[in-house]
Structures are given as structure tokens and as C-alpha cells.
Symmetry: C2
Subunit: 395 residues, 2 copies
């Protein structure tokens, strides 16, 4: 009868009723905090607008959300902390988003500013900081990542040439630009094939591993299938635009034992969720907590040390959230060699410094661009390690 499909996998086996999901909502000035909090707590668990369902509370007991705290603001609105039973949405961040925001997103101005999930909720990152470091054999400094540019218009063999130049100059990782999908004139598999040749050559000659995060695109079924094909053809990392494709796609990739490479999560579209508005989510929820519990190994985000307008607190909150989950923070967006020192001073060594045009558009070429970052890292006190001997690599 196919019922085995409905059994939860070991990783999701939580004692559901003992566990809660804690959401902190912010309601804007001029709103009735207690009323809106109650509307959300009842409506998103009993699922009705009417107070009538209070009568059925016994039958709903395992599913009722509970208002834990209200912190009114003097101008109205304020913060509401609401606990949801995990049993309301045990199976994915898709049902979680429906549960904690869902239809009320269309009716009430509210922002999820914090989200605390049970430790085992969702799909854990299979690699995270430690796993990515083991893949590279680099443990004692921030990592360096570059982005292929221009995003669209390069051939697959040009990807290979650029990768060769960057990789032999000391880059640790390279990624596709997020807007490059799997297009016939420069397919993901063709890009991988040319890059993989260089990856193997560097390994043979230098015993150094360089990761290439190839961008996934297509329908959900195609992405899941392509990820397996790409990994079987030698991909050592993947890139996913998580907000464009949905957290449940990330979860599926992270849970797939055949997709045994780190998954880099791009924040494209996230501004729609986190923009300056009374609706939506904070960055640390969208790019931090949810990414970590959907199985992301590294998360890119716009940094104030580049050219994005991010508040220091917002960015630090996000980095702290990722670090707590052992997910690699990847500060990005207009990052230059001048960004390196403040990034290292602010966040320490557990970051991947990610640069696009500062490397690709360096007046003396890609190699000089990478060199400028290697020098900046050295000036900040971090030396490139020599590669580990072959027999010590890995776990």
C-alpha cells in the first residue's frame, strides 16, 4: 500500500509532543499586540478565525500553540513569543513555514524575528564547517572563494581556464554565479567536466583539493536527479539558490546519501523575506536557522564589509546563528582585499571570504586578484598552509 513512504526517517524521529518550536513575532506600532498574538496562536494551530474552537481544546491539546510572553511596545504592537508543538509540522521546513507564517502573512503585519528549533529538527548539515575543512584539508585559517564572472556568456572551457588560473593561485573554492543556470550552451555537466580536470591536476601535482560549487537549476525533480549525476561525475560541491527553489529542495539534497558533497546556499531572493518591512523574517531566521535545519553546509550572505547595506547587529546575529550550527558563514557582495582584515577581526577564522569582481576584474588578471586576497589574509595573520600529506587527508 506504499505506507512505508510515510514512516519518518531516523533523523526526524523526535518525541514530538515533548518538543516545541519557539517563534518570536514582532507586530508593528499601532497594532493590538495581545489580540494579534492570540489570533496567530489560535489560527495557526486550530486553524480558524473564530474563538468557537476553544470548546474543542481537549481534542486539539497536542496541537495548540501557546503564547509564552508578550513584550508590548509603548507605541502599540511589540513582541510576542509563541510556542508551537513540533507535532504541528514535524516533517519539513515547508510545513514549518506554513505553520508559523502561512495564511496570516496575507492578513497581519508581522515579522518573525527569532526562531528556535529543537536540535534534531529537520535535516542536519552533512558537512558544515568541519566537513568542508576536511574536504579541503585546510584547518587553521579563513577560506578563500571566488565567483566565475561574467555570470552568463562564458563557455564551459572558459570556466576551466578561469578555474585553472584561480586554483593554481591559491583559491580554496570557486562557485558559479547564482544566475547561471543549466543552459544548453554552457551546461552544468560541461562546466564540471572542464573544472574537474583542473581539480584532479592540482591534486596530483600539489596534493591540494579545490572545491567547485556547481549551480543547480531546473524543476525540483530535475535538481535532485542532476545533483546525483553531477556528484557521480565528480562534483565536489553544489550551489543552490535556496529561496528561489524552496528549503524542501535543500532538505532533499542534504538527506540524499548519494549527494555526499557540501551544499552552498545562495541568498538570492532573500531580500523579499528580510527587507525593511513589517512583514517577513529576520535574516538570521531565513539565512541562519532555516538554512541550518534544512541541511545547508555553507551560507552566503551580503556583508557590510563589502558593498551591501547591512546593519552590524543583523550581520553578527546571522554569523553567530550559523556558527552555533557549525554552518560555514560566507560573507559576500563587493568583497575586496580591504574587506579581509575587518572580516577576520570581526568573525575569526571560521568564515569563507567570497569575492567576485575583485578577483575576476583585477587589472592584472585573475591570478593577481587571488594573490591580493592571499596577501591580505597573510597580512591579517593567516598563512596558507602547506597541503596535508595524502595519507592524513580525510577523516
Amino acid at each position: 500500500m506504499g505506507s512505508q513512504v510515510y514512516r519518518f526517517k531516523g533523523q526526524n524521529l523526535l518525541k514530538a509532543r515533548d518538543l516545541i518550536i519557539r517563534v518570536t513575532y514582532r507586530f508593528p506600532a499601532g497594532t493590538d499586540l495581545a489580540k494579534l498574538a492570540r489570533m496567530v496562536a489560535v489560527g495557526q494551530s486550530a486553524g480558524t478565525w473564530s474563538p468557537k474552537y476553544e470548546d474543542r481544546k481537549d481534542r486539539l491539546s497536542g496541537h495548540m500553540a501557546e503564547i509564552i510572553d508578550l513584550v508590548p511596545h509603548e507605541s502599540g504592537g511589540g513582541l510576542a513569543v509563541i510556542d508551537y508543538p513540533v507535532s504541528n509540522c514535524p516533517d519539513s521546513t515547508g510545513s514549518l513555514l506554513t505553520a508559523i507564517m502561512g495564511k496570516y502573512s496575507m492578513a497581519i503585519p508581522m515579522k518573525v524575528i527569532d526562531l528556535v528549533l529543537p536540535e534534531g529538527y529537520g535535516v542536519p548539515p552533512a558537512f558544515g564547517i568541519d566537513g568542508i575543512r576536511r574536504s579541503l584539508g585546510v584547518f587553521d585559517r579563513p577560506l578563500l572563494m571566488a565567483i566565475f564572472k561574467p555570470s552568463l556568456g562564458l563557455t564551459a572551457s572558459e570556466h576551466g581556464e578561469i578555474f585553472r588560473e584561480a586554483a593554481f593561485s591559491g583559491i580554496d573554492l570557486m562557485k558559479d554565479d547564482e544566475i547561471l543556470p543549466d543552459i544548453p550552451e554552457c551546461s552544468a555537466l560541461d562546466r564540471l567536466t572542464t573544472v574537474r580536470t583542473v581539480v584532479d591536476e592540482i591534486w596530483r601535482t600539489q596534493k591540494r583539493r579545490v572545491l567547485y560549487a556547481v549551480n543547480l537549476s531546473g524543476r525540483a525533480d530535475e535538481i535532485l536527479r542532476k545533483a546525483r549525476v553531477l556528484v557521480s561525475e565528480g562534483a565536489n560541491a553544489l550551489l543552490l539558490n535556496v529561496l528561489s527553489y524552496g528549503y524542501p529542495v535543500l532538505e532533499a539534497l542534504a538527506a540524499d546519501p548519494l549527494v555526499n558533497v557540501p551544499i552552498f546556499c545562495h541568498p538570492a531572493l532573500s531580500g523579499v523575506f528580510t527587507g525593511p518591512s513589517d512583514h517577513g523574517f529576520s535574516s538570521r531566521v531565513v539565512l541562519g536557522t532555516l538554512m541550518a535545519h534544512a541541511g545547508g553546509d555553507a551560507v552566503l550572505f551580503p556583508t557590510r564589509f563589502g558593498n551591501f547595506p547591512v546593519s552590524p547587529e543583523e550581520e553578527s546575529d546571522l554569523v553567530d546563528t550559523l556558527h552555533r550550527s557549525s554552518v560555514f558563514p560566507v560573507p559576500s557582495g563587493g568583497v575586496t582585499p580591504l574587506s579581509v582584515l575587518p572580516l577576520c577581526q570581526t568573525y575569526g577564522k571560521e568564515i569563507i571570504i567570497n569575492a567576485g569582481t575583485a578577483i575576476m576584474d583585477h587589472p592584472e588578471g585573475v591570478s593577481a586578484g587571488v594573490g591580493a586576497f592571499v596577501t591580505a589574509l597573510s597580512d591579517a595573520g593567516w598563512k596558507q598552509e602547506s597541503a596535508l600529506p595524502f595519507q592524513k587527508r580525510g577523516d
Copy 2:
């Protein structure tokens, strides 16, 4: 080498370079329209912040976006119409969202207020208005849909009992509440099993078909697998929280020949995309154009004729967009029998009128609740048809 995975399916075979995606952005008051439009058009196709890539225009010629029109507002900002080549994102709405909004969502206040896609773009609805009507054998009146309540806390057999009462009273369709996931104490398969018994009984005794849209949840891979299992076990419709799970999950379901039932699209979370803010999208883009091109057969949306605060223009724009794509509009949210006449007068017969508590909480029970809607429909001039004879049903 697995390269066959990278071949586009027939439905996506567009003459890419001949086709464009037209996006109308709104930039808020106080912004520099021409500058921001240029930043988006260049940055989202060449993929750089720098004007240097103008030099490479030849190589990028097939991928450059083009500013077609600028309509400045007297207070600054205004509208910009930008054309993107389909070849920038030929393979899914995931790459489309990355292309037209992507990283700029984090840097620039901008709202996509209109989106025109080539007719064959994406995955077409497999059923739409005509297909859903053929499934039901009802052609000449608005359809009636009810929602199981309470959302959480019912057993599977209670679903069956409620369905029996509603279905024998004349409802055309029923759906799970969107916040009910596939939970062990009331699994999707168990719900289907009890409901399906009633569906078959009504067919045997009345030659009338009633649809039950069972809610999908889980990781993307689980959803795709569950959908096939549910359909093979007799599901005649599915429900997906498209914004929580991602359009590419909808695309995968719609493209799957083994998932040969209509897909109902719930708008949970859509307020985050469409809220009153300078960021995001209009409703007609998120719930209209994108749903239609990702393969949705029917789309629920909050209606001003219920209890949601929606502007008449916004709602009409959305309904028009859905009708043009032959997707069934499903006005929802606090709909009562009093909503029926204005809904019919405003949108005509090609709608599915969807009620939750007005039916489930009717003081005289579910049957009376459905009856009140049947009466309202009759008062509005639409009679329940007698069922078609068996041999005429279907295509």
C-alpha cells in the same frame, strides 16, 4: 555520462533567443529610476556591479537584459520595464526568480508589479479550468469547495465522516487545511483512504464525482514520491503550499505523468512576497503568472468578499491573470453564503467558491453549511446540475 538528464523536455523547447521575459519593476519615491533600472538590467544579466563589463557586451549579447521603458514618478522612482532573454533562465521558475529578483532583493527596494512570460514557458497546467470541470462533470456553474476544520486534531476517520456529510450535501470539492501536514496520527494516506471510500460510494450511488485535495508535505523528494503513492492509492486532487515548498516542487508535480490529478495551490506565505512594502512582487505575479507557468491547476487567494483586506484592483488583476491562463481562481478566506452573489457577479462562473468555518461551524452542522451555499448559488442563478450519465463523463 548521464548527459541525457540535461536535455530539455519537449514542453520547455523554446527558441530561446527569440523569446523574452518582460518584467515591470516599481522603484519607490526618492530613488534614481534610470540608475537603478540600469543596475538591475546589467547586474542581473552580466552579473556584476561594475560598468566594466560593457566591453564584453559582444560575448554577452545573447544574455543582456534591456531596458524597454522608464516611467518616472514625480517624487522620484517610478516604473521600469526590462526585457530578459529566456535563455538566461530557460529551465524553471527557480532560475527565473533568481534572474529577475535574485541578489538585488537584498540591495535595492524594488517590486515586480508585472511579469509577462512566453506562452510556452515553464510547465503548463495539466488540468486547469477545463480539466477540473471534466473531472467533476460540472460545466455550467461556479464550483463549491469546503475545508476540513479544525485543521489539526481530527482523526483520519473523522475526515471521512465530515467528507461524507459535505459530499452528500452537494459540495464539489474538499481540501485539507493547509496547516495539516502528513503527521503520523493522521497521515495523508489514512485521510485519503477514508475519504476515498466515500468518493467511490457517491460515484456508485449518484454518478457524481467529488474531489479531495490532500495536502502534500515533507522534503521535496518525499513530496514527489508521496504524490505518486497518493495518486496510485486513489487521490483525485492534491494540495500544495507552493510558496513554502517552492515553485520548482509544483513544476515537478505538474510535469510528472504519474501525477495525473489537478493540483490546488495554496497561497500560504505569499503575504511575505506581496505585502505592503517597496520590496517583493504583486499578487498577480506571485499567485497568478508564476503559479500558471509552474503548472498549478487552481489557485486559492484571499478575497475581499471574505474577510481579507485586498484591494478590488489587486484581486481583479489576479483573477484576470488566472482566467487568461485557464487556471481556476479559488476565492477564499472568511467566505460565507453572503459572499456568493458578489463573487459570481464580479468574476462569473469560472470560480471555485471556497469556504471553511462558514460550513464547518454552521450551527446546524456541515450539511446545513453546504446547503446554505447551494441555496446562495441557486439564488445567484446557478442550479446544481444533475450528474452526467456515466458514458458521457470524462473527455
